[in-house]
C-alpha cells in the first residue's frame, strides 16, 4: 500500500516537473492577438559583436516607438545561424523577421519558407521603396517573387595592407591590372618577404565567379523558364585553378584550412600583416580597419575596368519574413523602419553595408568616418563600370559550393589534379542542378 502511494506520488511529481520544465523553455512565440493588442515578433540575424549590440539598441528604440510591439531577438555567428535556421524551419518555427543571404534565399524561398514581399515592397507600400535602387529589387526576385528585401549593397574590392605592401617594393596599377598582373604581384610579394601575397575569404567560389566575369562568363545562368545551368568554359576553369594551385604550392597564398580556422577578424593573416592583399566585400573594410593597426586601402579588383564589366553590386543581405509568420504586416512595418528610417540608420550605421536607401546614405554621409566614406565612395565610383548583378544562386547551391571548396582543397594539397577537378566538378554540379530543377 505504502509502495503504491510512493510510486504514484513519484510519478505525479516527475510528470509535473517535466511539464513545468518544458513550458518554461518554450519560446513565447506569437500569441494570438487582434487589433492593438500586444504583438510579438521574433527577429534573428547573424554578425559580430558590433552588429549584435547596435541591432539590439535599434530594436529597443522601435519597441519604445511602438509600445504594442515586443521583439524577441536571436543572434549568432554566420556558421551557427544557418544550422539554427534549418532546424527552425523543420519545426515550422522560423522567425518573423530574419536576415537572409543570397546563398540561401533560393533554398528557403522556393520551398515556401519565405513570404513573397512583392506586394509590400512598392513605392509607398508597407516597405517603402521610394528611395531604393530598383535594379537591386528586380535582381533579387526569383521569377516574380521577392523572397527578401535587399537592405544593403556591396561589391568586391581589393583590400590592400599598404604597410605590408610597401615593405615589398611592389607597386600595383589598380586601374589597369588584369589577372596575369595580379598573379605576378601575389608571387612577387611572397618572393620578397615570404609572406602571403593574398589571403582568400574561405570560399573559393567568390574568387572564381569574379574571375569568370572578367572573362565574360559566369558560374550560373538562367534560361527563360528559370532553369539554371553552368555557364563557364573548361579553359577558364583550368586557367583559374591552375593559377591558384601554383600560388598555394609556392606559399604565396595560404592553404584553404588556414582561413577556415580563423575565428575572428583580428586573427586573420591580413590583419596580422601577414598578407598584402585580400579580395573581399567592401563592407569588410571597416571591420579589418578595426582589427589592425596597419594602414589599409580599398582598391579595385584586377580587370575592373575591362570591357566585360566584371564588378557588380551585390545585395549584401536581405530581411525576409517567414511564410508561417502570423504578423506579416507588423513584420513588414518593422523592416521598413529598420531599413528606411534615419533613426535606425543613426544607430546601425553602415555595419551591414551601404544602405540600398539613397536617402539613408545621404543622411549618414554627414557623420561617416573616413573609412565609411571611402567605402561609400568606392561604391559610387564604380557605378560606371558595374555590370548586371549576379544571378541569385540556384537551389542546391550549398551542395555545389561544398563540392567546389572540398575539391579545391584536394587540389591545393596536391591530392588531385586540376583536370580531374574540372571534369568531376562539372559532372557533379550538373547532377545537383538536375536533381533540383
Amino acid at each position: 500500500m505504502k509502495k503504491f502511494f510512493m510510486a504514484t506520488s513519484l510519478v505525479a511529481t516527475m510528470l509535473t516537473l517535466a511539464a513545468c520544465g518544458s513550458s518554461n523553455s518554450e519560446e513565447a512565440s506569437s500569441t494570438a492577438a487582434a487589433g492593438d493588442e500586444k504583438v510579438t515578433l521574433t527577429f534573428s540575424w547573424w554578425g559580430g559583436e558590433l552588429r549584435h549590440n547596435s541591432t539590439q539598441e535599434a530594436v529597443e528604440l522601435y519597441e519604445e516607438l511602438n509600445p504594442n510591439v515586443d521583439i524577441q531577438v536571436e543572434y549568432s555567428s554566420w556558421d551557427d545561424y544557418w544550422k539554427k535556421l534549418a532546424t527552425k524551419s523543420a519545426s515550422g518555427d522560423l522567425p518573423d523577421v530574419m536576415q537572409m543571404d543570397l546563398q540561401y534565399i533560393s533554398q528557403y524561398g522556393l520551398k515556401n519558407q519565405l513570404s513573397d514581399l512583392s506586394e509590400f515592397a512598392v513605392k509607398g507600400g508597407a516597405i517603402d521603396t521610394t528611395y531604393t535602387d530598383e535594379s537591386l529589387i528586380e535582381g533579387s526576385k526569383i521569377g516574380d517573387e521577392l523572397f527578401g528585401f535587399p537592405i544593403s549593397k556591396n561589391a568586391l574590392s581589393m583590400l590592400t595592407n599598404t604597410s605590408a605592401l610597401a615593405d615589398t617594393g611592389v607597386t600595383i596599377d589598380y586601374e589597369n591590372w588584369d589577372f596575369e598582373d595580379w598573379k605576378q604581384v601575389v608571387s612577387d610579394v611572397h618572393e620578397k618577404t615570404g609572406k602571403y601575397g593574398m589571403v582568400d575569404v574561405g570560399d573559393i567560389a567568390i574568387l572564381f565567379s569574379y574571375y569568370l566575369r572578367t572573362e565574360g562568363e559566369s558560374l550560373y545562368t538562367y534560361d527563360d523558364e528559370g532553369n539554371p545551368s553552368l555557364n563557364y568554359t573548361d579553359e577558364n576553369f583550368t586557367a583559374f585553378f591552375e593559377t591558384m594551385q601554383g600560388l598555394v604550392a609556392e606559399g604565396a597564398m595560404p592553404t584553404p584550412e588556414v582561413v577556415k580556422n580563423v575565428k575572428s577578424f583580428d586573427e586573420n593573416p591580413f590583419s596580422l600583416g601577414e598578407s598584402a592583399l585580400m579580395q573581399t566585400w567592401t563592407n569588410q573594410y571597416n571591420l579589418y580597419n578595426d582589427a589592425t593597426e596597419d594602414d589599409l586601402s580599398l582598391d579595385l579588383v584586377y580587370g575592373a575596368n575591362n570591357e566585360n564589366n566584371p564588378l557588380s553590386y551585390r545585395q549584401a543581405m536581405f530581411y525576409s519574413i517567414a511564410e508561417t509568420s502570423e504578423y506579416k504586416e507588423e513584420a513588414a512595418d518593422f523592416i521598413d523602419w529598420i531599413v528606411n528610417s534615419t533613426e535606425a540608420a543613426d544607430i546601425l550605421g553602415t555595419e551591414r553595408g551601404i544602405s540600398t536607401n539613397s536617402q539613408v546614405v545621404e543622411h549618414l554621409s554627414a557623420n561617416m568616418t573616413e573609412i565609411e566614406k571611402e567605402t561609400a565612395d568606392y561604391l559610387t565610383d564604380i557605378a560606371d563600370v558595374v555590370g548586371d548583378p549576379e544571378a541569385v544562386p540556384p537551389l542546391g547551391y550549398t551542395e555545389i559550393n561544398t563540392l567546389l571548396n572540398d575539391m579545391y582543397s584536394e587540389v591545393a594539397y596536391g591530392e588531385k589534379d586540376v583536370k580531374s577537378f574540372s571534369d568531376e566538378f562539372r559532372v557533379k554540379a550538373e547532377e545537383v542542378l538536375a536533381d533540383n530543377y
Binding site: 510519478v11 510528470l15 584553404p256
Partner: protein, 321 residues
C-alpha cells in the same frame, strides 16, 4: 500468512476508499504494479526521447528530407549512394576507426598505469586521485575543446613556448595525422573516470593472492599478469566496451577543433561530424539518418564481437571460491 495479509488488505480498503480494486489484488500483483509505477518516468522518457526518435530516424532514412519541404520517399537510394558514391563516407570511417583504435587503448593503458601507481599506500594518494580525476570532471565539453585548440593552435601555447625557445612552430592542425593526434590526446587526457573504475577494481583484489604468490616466488611482473590482470578483466572489459562505443560517437572536440569542417583535408572528419554536416549544412536529413543507422549497425557489430571474444579472456567471478 496469506490469510492475514488478505484480511489486512480488506481492512485497509475501508480506510482508503480511493484505492478501489487495487486493495483486493494479491500482494504480488500490488508489488508489480508499484514497481511499474516506479519505473514509469524512465519508461516514458525512454520511449519519447529514444525509441520514438529512433523510429522516426529509421523512417527518414528511406526518404529525401531537406527540412524545408515534406519528405520524399526514395527507398534504399540513400544507402546505395552512401556505399557506392560517397568518398567522404569512407574517409570518415577511416578517421573514426583510427581514432577509436588509438584513443581507447591509450586512454585505458594510461588509466590502468596511473591507477596502479596511485594504488600504493601513500599519504598523497587521496590528492593524486582528485588531481587525476579533474580532467574528466570538466568533461568533453565545448570549453575544453576550445582550450585544446588554443594550446595546439598555430599561435597557441605550445608554439608560443617553441618560439620563445627559438624553435620552429609546429602546425598541428595543418596535417591530417597531427590534427587527429591532438584529438586522440584530448581523449587520453580524460582518463580519470576509467582510472577510478580501475582503482576500485584493484582495491577489490584480495591481498592474500599477492602474498601467496610472493611466497611461491613469483616476481612483480608475473604477479601482474597472473593476478592483477585476470582479476581486473571484467572491469577492463566493461571499460573497453563503454569507451569504444563512446569513441565511435565522438563529436564535440572534432567539431570545435576543426571549426565544423573536419579539416585539414577531412583528417578530423569523425563520423558524427559528417552526419552533422550532411544534415545541417547540406540540408540532407534523410541521408544523414541513413548514415546514423549504418553506424549503429557498425557499433552493434563491434560490441557483439567484443562480447564474443570476452569468454576467452574475461575472468568470470562465478564459481570461484
Amino acid at each position: 500468512m496469506e490469510a492475514s495479509k488478505k484480511s489486512s488488505i480488506v481492512k485497509n480498503k475501508k480506510s482508503f476508499p480511493l484505492m478501489g480494486r487495487f486493495g483486493t489484488l494479491s500482494s504480488e500483483k500490488q508489488n508489480n504494479i508499484s514497481g511499474y509505477l516506479f519505473i514509469s518516468p524512465f519508461i516514458i522518457g525512454f520511449l519519447s526521447f529514444i525509441v520514438v526518435p529512433m523510429a522516426m530516424s529509421l523512417y527518414m532514412s528511406f526518404h529525401d528530407y531537406d527540412m524545408l519541404s515534406s519528405p520524399e520517399w526514395v527507398g534504399l537510394d540513400n544507402f546505395t549512394e552512401l556505399f557506392t558514391e560517397d568518398s567522404k563516407f569512407i574517409q570518415s570511417l577511416k578517421v573514426t576507426f583510427t581514432y577509436v583504435l588509438t584513443a581507447v587503448p591509450l586512454r585505458l593503458i594510461t588509466a590502468l598505469a596511473v591507477a596502479l601507481l596511485i594504488n600504493r599506500k601513500s599519504k598523497l594518494s587521496g590528492a593524486y586521485r582528485v588531481l587525476f580525476y579533474l580532467p574528466s570532471v570538466i568533461g568533453g565539453s565545448v570549453a575544453v575543446s576550445i582550450m585544446w585548440r588554443n594550446i595546439f593552435g598555430d599561435t597557441g601555447l605550445i608554439n608560443g613556448l617553441f618560439t620563445t625557445l627559438g624553435l620552429d612552430p609546429v602546425y598541428f592542425f595543418k596535417h591530417q595525422g597531427s590534427a587527429l593526434g591532438v584529438l586522440v590526446l584530448l581523449a587520453a587526457w580524460q582518463f580519470g573516470s576509467s582510472m577510478l573504475v580501475f582503482l576500485s577494481g584493484l582495491k577489490n583484489i584480495p591481498n592474500e593472492y599477492y602474498e601467496a604468490a610472493e611466497m611461491d616466488g613469483a616476481g612483480k611482473i608475473r604477479q601482474f599478469f597472473s593476478i592483477t590482470m585476470p582479476s581486473l578483466s571484467p572491469i577492463l572489459f566493461f571499460n573497453i566496451v563503454m569507451q569504444t562505443i563512446q569513441s565511435f560517437l565522438t563529436f564535440t572536440p572534432a567539431y570545435i577543433i576543426s571549426n565544423g569542417s573536419g579539416s585539414p583535408m577531412n583528417g578530423t572528419l569523425v563520423y558524427s561530424l559528417y552526419v552533422y554536416q550532411k544534415a545541417f549544412s547540406e540540408f540532407k536529413m534523410g541521408y544523414a539518418s541513413a548514415m546514423a543507422w549504418v553506424i549503429l549497425v557498425i557499433i552493434g557489430t563491434v560490441t557483439l564481437l567484443l562480447f564474443a571474444t570476452s569468454k576467452f579472456w574475461v575472468h568470470s567471478e562465478s564459481g570461484e571460491g
